[in-house]
């Protein structure tokens, strides 16, 4: 089994949760989200972020508004919808459950 594959699988699930959590606090541009992820040591390339944001938006968890920028084209400013908020809370609970489970399993060894 390819370990890189497995690692990638793990991250994929977590990424959504992280994005939702970030946006829970304030609205943000994609690059802001990226910076915050990087600050928390979760490194993703930008190319990963955009498709994910788009999908979340298409699923109704996010909305955005256009913001004019002096340094280039207008940028999307994302925020959570109500659905997104509840989604985020539910994911957080699920995450805690998983954390406990893994901890217990590893502790047994």
């Amino acid at each position: 089994m390819n370990i890189e594959n497995t690692k990638a699988q793990m991250r994929k699930g977590i990424l959504e949760l992280c994005i939702l959590s970030i946006l829970e606090k304030n609205e943000a541009y994609p690059s802001d989200i990226l910076n915050e992820l990087k600050a928390s040591k979760l490194i993703v390339v930008e190319g990963t972020l955009y498709p994910l944001l788009t999908r979340l938006k298409n699923d109704g968890l996010l909305t955005y508004r256009w913001e004019e920028s002096n340094s280039g084209p207008p940028r999307k400013y994302f925020q959570l919808t109500e659905l997104g908020k509840s989604f985020s809370r539910e994911l957080e609970t699920s995450w805690k459950d998983l954390q406990n489970a893994v901890q217990k399993i590893r502790a047994k060894k």
Partner: protein, 606 residues
């Protein structure tokens, strides 16, 4: 001078070098390929382009009006290669994974197998793995076989070396494929090479990472790098050695566990006389545990209980040994907790059973009682008496005293046992006659039982003039069971009289006190005179006259009719008819030890 291209990204105009343009176009194309067909793919592309535009916009200044190649490269680094996009699109992933799985489950193409040594998985020379590939079994099994053969004869080493010498190593890819039995064609070669390439690539990228980290020591304070790798290497070597030792230990456990188990089973069921576990008598006989049982135990219940008890208490640890050995070697899984608890419980039950039955049996030995019978030689008989033992039942080459064991079964018959727990001691007597007391002891649950057993001991000796021949054994009826029966003889000599301890009396004597603290062994074959201080050794006159005179002394009385009172204790009334022509003075026997429920000591009546 360079040609520039004017492009429009996300509605913003940029001037870009021709070379840079090519690269950018390629990149965007690859992104479009990845996302073009997916849901919302258009939007993703738009977003990405907008971001690229943003980055480019920051780079353009008055000084630098054109996007160059390295700018594009930077953008690509920031945005990431399409392969690096971890997309959360489950459907697309499922599709991709399905394709992967399909190739994974594709059955391996079989071809003719050839026997090679496997250089990729070798401990010594790859012989075992080569064999394993050929037969399609786990290399570990083959290695174990080799080790086993090495132990039982050492030929394994030779075989291994021969195989090593004659078997070629699978070096080329096609050889490796043939070793594993895969068809050698383009596809399988490609697969195989691909695997190797992946492997190498990983190794190199790993190295690259390490070098990276080493270079950027400041990065987040992580100083893993070289030192870490080195330590890891050392640890893995140590781990390998320990694992090896562990496996070896596992083998030892299995071997010994098996041996112990066999001997336990054999001895428990009386199948064999296994030395060590069932051996209770030395030198001349060995008895199986079954015989010990018959002899020792009262009821069937006790016999069964002890058997089960021993079986559980020793069998379970032995089985655990075996199991631990197997687990170490073959890594079989631990059974459920329930089984472990159950087994421990069973072991405990075995111990408890042993304890309880042991206590019960011990109880049978708790009360001790004895029967004493006495006999006196009148003072006129002789000044010296000779003590010998009847050693006719012993093997010819047995040495008295040397081979004397206290608890010892000389002979074993259907319902009789000849036991050698007979001890003789010599003491001072206050009266002026030589007296012999025979004390028969036994044990039982109650005093009545003890006395009865003591009485049932059959012991005899014979007196000829001034020489006494004792039996070095007594006879015990099986029905009485072994309850620590023993016979003690006390020869009491007045001061001035002498006793000669014949060589054969070595079977009898036990720690006879003497003035020179001579050990029993060295007392044999000598004359000992009782003095106020105790027994003193007489240095005998070894001249011809001395010997002759001593010979004469041995036959003081002219009469030749031997006196053979056999002391047999019949319950309560113990009268003895002595057939003798010697004038004997009857002395009332002294009652040395008084116990309640004690038959009156008998006396000789002429």
């Amino acid at each position: 001078m360079n040609k520039t291209v004017t492009i429009n990204i996300s509605g913003i105009i940029f001037n870009i070098d021709e070379g840079a343009f090519d690269k950018l176009q390629g990149y965007l194309h690859s992104i479009k390929q990845k996302f073009g067909n997916t849901q919302g793919g258009e939007e993703i592309l738009i977003d990405i382009e907008a971001r690229i535009a943003e980055i480019f916009h920051e780079k353009v200044t008055d000084r630098k009006q054109v996007i160059a190649l390295f700018d594009v490269e930077e953008v690509i680094a920031i945005m990431g290669q399409p392969e690096q996009f971890e997309d959360g699109d489950a459907e697309a992933n499922a599709f991709n994974n399905a394709k992967e799985e399909q190739s994974y489950y594709e059955p391996e193409r079989k071809g003719p197998k050839r026997f090679f040594r496997d250089p990729d998985s070798k401990i010594l020379g790859g012989v075992s793995s080569g064999i394993a590939h050929y037969f399609g079994v786990d290399p570990v099994i083959i290695r174990l076989l080799f080790v086993a053969v090495v132990f039982f004869g050492g030929s394994g080493v030779i075989i291994y070396l021969i195989l090593w010498a004659i078997t070629p190593e699978a070096k080329t890819t096609s050889e490796k494929l043939q070793m594993k039995g895969q068809k050698v064609d383009i596809d399988s070669i490609r697969q195989s090479v691909g695997k190797e390439a992946d492997h190498l690539k990983k190794k190199f990228s790993h190295l690259g990472e390490k070098a990276d980290q080493f270079g950027r020591k400041m990065d987040a304070g992580k100083v893993q790098g070289f030192l870490g790798t080195f330590l890891n290497f050392i640890f893995s070597i140590v781990k390998l050695i320990l694992t090896f030792i562990g496996k070896f230990f596992g083998i030892i456990l299995i071997i010994f566990g098996g041996l112990f188990l066999l001997s336990l089973v054999a001895s428990l069921f009386g199948l064999a006389n296994v030395n060590g576990l069932s051996h209770i008598a030395w030198n001349y006989n060995s008895f199986s545990i079954k015989e010990v049982y018959d002899f020792l135990f009262l009821t069937n219940y006790q016999r069964i209980a002890i058997t089960i008890g021993i079986g559980l208490a020793t069998g379970i640890p032995i089985l655990s040994m075996l199991y631990a050995g197997l687990k170490i070697l073959f890594n079989i899984q631990s059974p459920s907790k329930g089984i472990g608890a159950g087994v421990t419980l069973a072991w405990f039950a075995g111990i408890v059973l042993l304890l309880v039955t042991g206590l019960q049996i011990g109880n049978e030995f708790s009360k001790e009682d004895k029967v004493v019978s006495e006999f006196s030689l009148p003072p006129s008989v002789a000044d010296t008496i000779y003590i010998t033992a009847d050693d006719s039942h012993y093997p010819v080459d047995a040495v008295p005293y040397e081979d004397n064991e206290d608890f010892f079964i000389l002979k074993s018959y259907e319902d009789e046992l000849y036991m050698t727990s007979v001890e003789l001691d010599v003491r001072e007597n206050n009266s002026d006659s030589i007296s012999i007391s025979v004390i028969q002891e036994a044990r039982g649950k109650t005093y009545e039982e003890a006395i009865e057993r003591a009485e049932n001991i059959e012991y005899s000796y014979s007196i000829t003039d001034n020489s006494i021949k004792f039996n070095p054994y007594f006879i015990l009826r099986r029905a009485d069971l072994y309850r620590k029966q023993s016979v003690k003889i006390r020869v009491s000599i007045p001061v001035g009289k002498t006793v000669y301890l014949d060589k054969t009396s070595g079977w009898l004597i036990y720690d006879i006190t003497n003035t020179t603290s001579t050990r029993d062994k060295y007392m044999l074959g000598k004359y000992w005179t009782m003095t106020e201080r105790g027994l003193e050794c007489q240095h005998m006159d070894m001249s011809k006259e001395g010997i002759r005179s001593r010979k004469k002394e041995r036959r003081v009385q002219p009469s030749s009719k031997p006196v053979t009172p056999t002391l047999k204790n019949t319950p309560k009334t113990t009268k003895q008819q002595a057939d003798t022509t010697t004038t004997a003075v009857i002395t009332p026997a002294e009652e040395h030890e008084m116990q309640p429920l004690f038959p009156t000591p008998f006396t000789i009546i002429t």
